[in-house]
């Protein structure tokens, strides 16, 4: 205990467990700490032991402690632990709820917390942003263009305008995510790490973040008695993630090429089609699993906010495709109409991301990155001071 000079007693908070219930953790109180879950969990190791310990911190309401842990992000919700738990305490779902709770803690605005706790607020916010977006686009379009022109001279929503609009939305998204990521770093690497971390480890391990972001490999690492069910989430996550990235790049960088027509520019459109297929498959997969929950522990208790995501995504994909078809077939009025609806879904969907479960796309790779930096730093410490006990 070399780096914890004075050990101060931490106050337990029996209210936190009630709070977490609204984030989806309904059975934590049943856990009696047999440790079966941590034993079966494929991702739990010497340094990051979970989910039992997370269950414990949660029962005791050690919020400030949980805030500084990475364990919830290292769980990929294979559900093994929940299947094994003799007390039906549902540790897998608890880890999921802790991720939601962490997202609300990283978020400085308090919006995430509001959304997780009240579906109505979230729906109202989504509708509000959608209406604002629609109104703004209509106003802009009508004031400078012609509703029956899709592209080129006098276009209702000219592509250069859309490009700037996209960049603006993208910048907002990036700013929010960045602030949250910095807060996460502060919780985990400053408040939650009692040993020194050399700066160059951040560089040395940077590749990990990129690798995990693009490969989503950890999903595939979950071993299970029923391999297909574990394999599928990985494929789907990979597909969805690649779909998002491609779409994001197309929209942010190549929007002007993408929007020109009616001839199809295969050099960009091929990517658009591929990404659309990925997104469609992913969306259908999620909808199906959430409807037929019984076979999948992971989806037994999907949180209501998950539905907002799925429905918006479905609308985006649908209107995107329609808009594309209408444009290529010369139905310009219809194309412009669906385009507005499309953007009315895209904007809230994107802006919602830092405040919703889907920000895990960013936090997970970050967590892997931080986890490995901490592991290395501690190993260096052990080499110097073998008696250091974690």
């Amino acid at each position: 205990m070399l780096y914890k000079e004075v050990i101060m007693a931490i106050r337990v908070n029996p209210r936190l467990i009630d709070d977490l219930e609204r984030f989806g953790a309904e059975d934590v109180q049943f856990c009696y700490h047999c440790g079966d879950c941590s034993t079966v969990c494929f991702h739990s190791d010497q340094m990051y032991r979970f989910p039992r310990k997370s269950m414990r911190f949660l029962q005791m309401g050690l919020g400030r402690k949980i805030e500084t842990t990475l364990e919830p992000w290292l769980c990929y919700y294979c559900g093994q632990c929940s299947e094994q738990c003799p007390r039906e305490a549902d540790p897998g779902e608890t880890m999921m709820s802790l991720r939601r709770w962490l997202i609300s803690r990283y978020d400085i605005t308090g919006i995430a917390r509001l959304f997780f706790k009240s579906l109505t607020t979230e729906i109202l916010a989504v509708i509000g942003v959608a209406v604002l977006t629609g109104a703004f686009l209509l106003y802009y379009g009508l004031s400078q263009g012609n509703f029956s022109i899709y592209d080129g001279e006098g276009a209702f929503l000219p592509s250069h305008f859309i490009h700037s609009f996209d960049l603006l939305v993208g910048a907002c998204l990036a700013v929010f995510l960045l602030i949250n990521a910095v807060r996460m770093w502060f919780f985990v690497m400053v408040r939650g790490t009692s040993f020194p971390v050399p700066w160059w480890l951040y560089l040395k391990k940077l590749y990990l973040m990129v690798w995990h972001f693009f490969s989503q490999r950890r999903y595939a690492e979950c071993k299970s008695t029923r391999p297909t069910k574990i394999f599928m989430p990985w494929i789907v996550h990979l597909g969805l993630m690649l779909g998002y990235i491609i779409m994001l790049v197309l929209v942010m960088v190549f929007i002007e090429k993408l929007q020109s027509g009616p001839r199809i520019d295969w050099s960009v459109h091929i990517f658009g089609y591929l990404a659309s297929v990925g997104l469609i498959i992913g969306t259908i997969y999620f909808i199906r699993k959430r409807i037929s929950r019984k076979n999948y522990v992971q989806y037994k208790k999907s949180h209501s906010t998950d539905w907002v995501f799925v429905i918006l995504l479905f609308m985006i994909v649908l209107t995107g495709i329609c808009q594309h078809i209408f444009h290529r077939t010369g139905l310009n009025e219809l194309a412009n109409g669906t385009y507005i609806i499309h953007l009315m879904a895209v904007v809230p969907w994107l802006l919602r991301m830092p405040f919703s479960k889907w920000s895990h796309l960013v936090y997970r790779p970050l967590a892997m990155y931080f986890a490995e930096i901490r592991r290395d730093a501690l190993e260096r410490q052990d080499a110097v001071l073998p008696s250091y006990s974690y």
């Binding site: 931490i10 414990r56 005791m60």
Partner: protein, 581 residues
């Protein structure tokens, strides 16, 4: 004396004896001893074929003395005596040589061990030659029963016996029946009302004509032996007995059901019991619950309640044993507190959750359902209670090294409940002495066998039930109470009791009346007959330990089956210069 025809049986006890003692050599050696008619070795003498062999041999070879060289007589003497009886031979014409516990199990040189087995068996042969046939005595069994203690255990025993038609004297030192259970509200784990359980018993006791109830009374003296005890019951008032005349009763058996008392929490100074006003014991909480209001001394409804387990139990300083009921009682409080005030946060601070009984594990799970904060502490590392600061929203803070998280934590509390354990009553030694039974290191009464004789004691006719034996819950106390009743009824139904013929006798012509032996007898079996002027041994009480025989300065006491000549013959044989080959 008739010609001696001795049969000697040497047991191998599987390999227990045979692996160290060469039983065949022993047999060869013994067969050369005079008066030995027959020698046999066998794998298991105590088995049915082994015993049958003895019976047949006695009949066919007119054997009139038997020696079995095998295990300890405390193990199988009864068994082989039974075989003699079956063959029509007096059961006392028998002797056992212990070549297992005292030979094969304790030695590692086979040659020496074999020689020792030869010597022991040879000595047994020399002794048995001098055995005489003895007759057991039979005494009448008085069917009345004395029950000491009117708790749930005592009342249950009394009712069971009285309902079978026998006279019961129920002696309770308190002014009311019910014992400790009368201080309890609901019972774990099924939340039955203790009052309901007791009212039914108490009404039945009061209305039963066969039960003579003595409240505020104590048994002040006891004499006699199984089947024929005499006891004095005396009314108490305040301190000690009054001048009123003791009431004498004749009884055949006694059930001791004197229960427990709670551990005094102020002995653990650092819990601040007695100093911090809102640190209370489980019994004080029971009282609050029964009165319908759980509140702090200041009259506030507590927002945080903390329960601390194992107070006085399971540590080296006070009691090492587990009090068995406090874990479930604590869970019961969780339910009671939560149902009185659902907004209250309850922390349950335990060492281990002992949920071993029927319905207990389910009860534990149900206590999790109401979001009890279960916290685990290390045995040697007790929680510490502080007064909270002015800024805190609670009265006290409990600091503890929480084992399942590895964190040092503090727990808010407005009311702290100490789960005090059970301990033997302060007068338990007095009671033990009165009825002549023993106590263990913690003061609990000792049963004659912890597994096979859980309610009998080493004194015939004295039975124990309930929490005076060890901490236990209501079902176990009641089960023991009914077991005691069953044991006593079985004794009564036999009408007479057989007393082992092995006891000591005073030769009245030799006894000088010095009364030296009277105080020495560990079983209080010797009484002094004033009018005759000499001591007399109550054969039914004597266990033939021989203390008085050795002590008597006039050599007036003879131990039957342990006469001087028998014992000396045995010793002579052991030290004689026989060639053991």
């Amino acid at each position: 004396m008739k010609e001696c025809r001795i049969g000697v049986y040497i047991c191998m006890c599987g390999t227990n004896i045979a692996k160290m003692v060469d039983v065949e050599s022993v047999a060869k050696f013994i067969s050369a001893v005079p008066n030995v008619t027959l020698v046999k070795t066998y794998k298991y003498m105590c088995s049915n074929p082994g015993q049958e062999m003895i019976v047949q041999d006695i009949k066919q070879n007119q054997l009139n003395r038997i020696v079995v060289a095998a295990c300890s007589p405390s193990m199988h003497e009864r068994t082989f005596r039974g075989a003699l009886r079956k063959a029509g031979l007096n059961q006392y014409l028998f002797e056992m040589a212990n070549i297992r516990e005292q030979c094969s199990w304790v030695h590692d040189d086979p040659e020496e061990a074999t020689k020792k087995a030869m010597a022991l068996t040879y000595a047994a042969v020399k002794r048995v030659e001098l055995h005489e046939p003895l007759e057991s005595i039979f005494v009448d069994m008085c069917p009345n029963v004395l029950v000491i203690g009117g708790g749930i255990a005592g009342m249950t025993t009394a009712l069971e016996l009285a309902d079978s038609g026998y006279q019961v004297y129920l002696v309770e030192k308190d002014s009311r029946l019910g014992g400790n259970l009368a201080r309890v509200d609901l019972t774990a784990p099924y939340l039955y009302s203790a009052r309901d359980l007791l009212t039914e018993r108490i009404t039945r006791v009061l209305n039963n004509k066969q039960i003579q109830l003595h409240l505020q009374s104590k048994v002040t003296s006891l004499s006699g032996f199984v089947g024929n005890f005499k006891a004095n019951i005396q009314k108490q008032n305040g301190q000690g007995s009054t001048g009123s005349k003791p009431f004498e009763v004749r009884i055949g058996n006694i059930a001791v059901c004197t229960g427990y008392k709670e551990f005094d929490a102020s002995r653990i100074t650092h819990y601040g019991y007695g100093k911090l006003p809102n640190v209370i014991t489980s019994f004080e909480l029971e009282k609050m619950i029964r009165s319908g209001r759980i509140e702090t001394k200041e009259g506030k409804v507590p927002q945080y309640v903390a329960i601390i387990h194992c107070v006085g139990s399971r540590n080296l300083e006070f009691h090492t044993y587990c009090s068995r009921v406090c874990c479930m009682t604590a869970l019961k409080y969780v339910h009671e507190i939560k149902s009185a005030n659902p907004a209250c946060y309850v922390s349950d601070i335990y060492i281990d959750m002992h949920a071993f009984g029927k319905g207990h594990e389910d009860f534990y799970k149900r206590s999790s359902e109401v979001k009890t904060l279960f916290l685990m502490y290390e045995k040697g590392d007790r929680p510490v209670i502080h007064r909270a600061g002015p800024k805190d929203d609670c009265e006290m803070l409990i600091e503890v090294n929480e084992k399942l998280s590895g964190e040092l934590i503090e727990i808010p509390a407005d009311l702290v409940v100490l789960m005090v354990g059970m301990e033997a009553r302060e007068d338990s030694a007095e009671v033990a002495h009165l009825v002549n039974i023993s106590q263990d290191k913690d003061g609990w009464f000792i049963e004659s066998h912890p597994k096979l004789e859980p309610v009998a004691t080493t004194t015939d006719g004295i039975f124990i039930a309930g929490t005076c034996v060890a901490p236990k819950d209501i079902p176990d106390s009641v089960a023991q109470a009914r077991a005691v009743a069953a044991r006593i009824l079985a004794k009564i139904s036999r009408g007479k009791i057989e007393v082992d013929a092995v006891y000591s006798e005073v030769d009245e012509n030799v006894c000088s009346g010095c009364r030296f032996c009277n105080k020495l007898c560990p079983f209080s079996a010797i009484e002094y007959e004033e009018e005759k002027g000499h001591s007399h041994i109550i054969s039914a009480l004597c266990k033939a330990c021989g203390v008085c025989v050795a002590a008597c300065p006039s050599a007036a006491i003879k131990g039957r089956q342990f006469t001087d000549s028998q014992v000396i013959a045995q010793i002579d044989a052991l030290i004689s210069k026989v060639e053991y080959v």
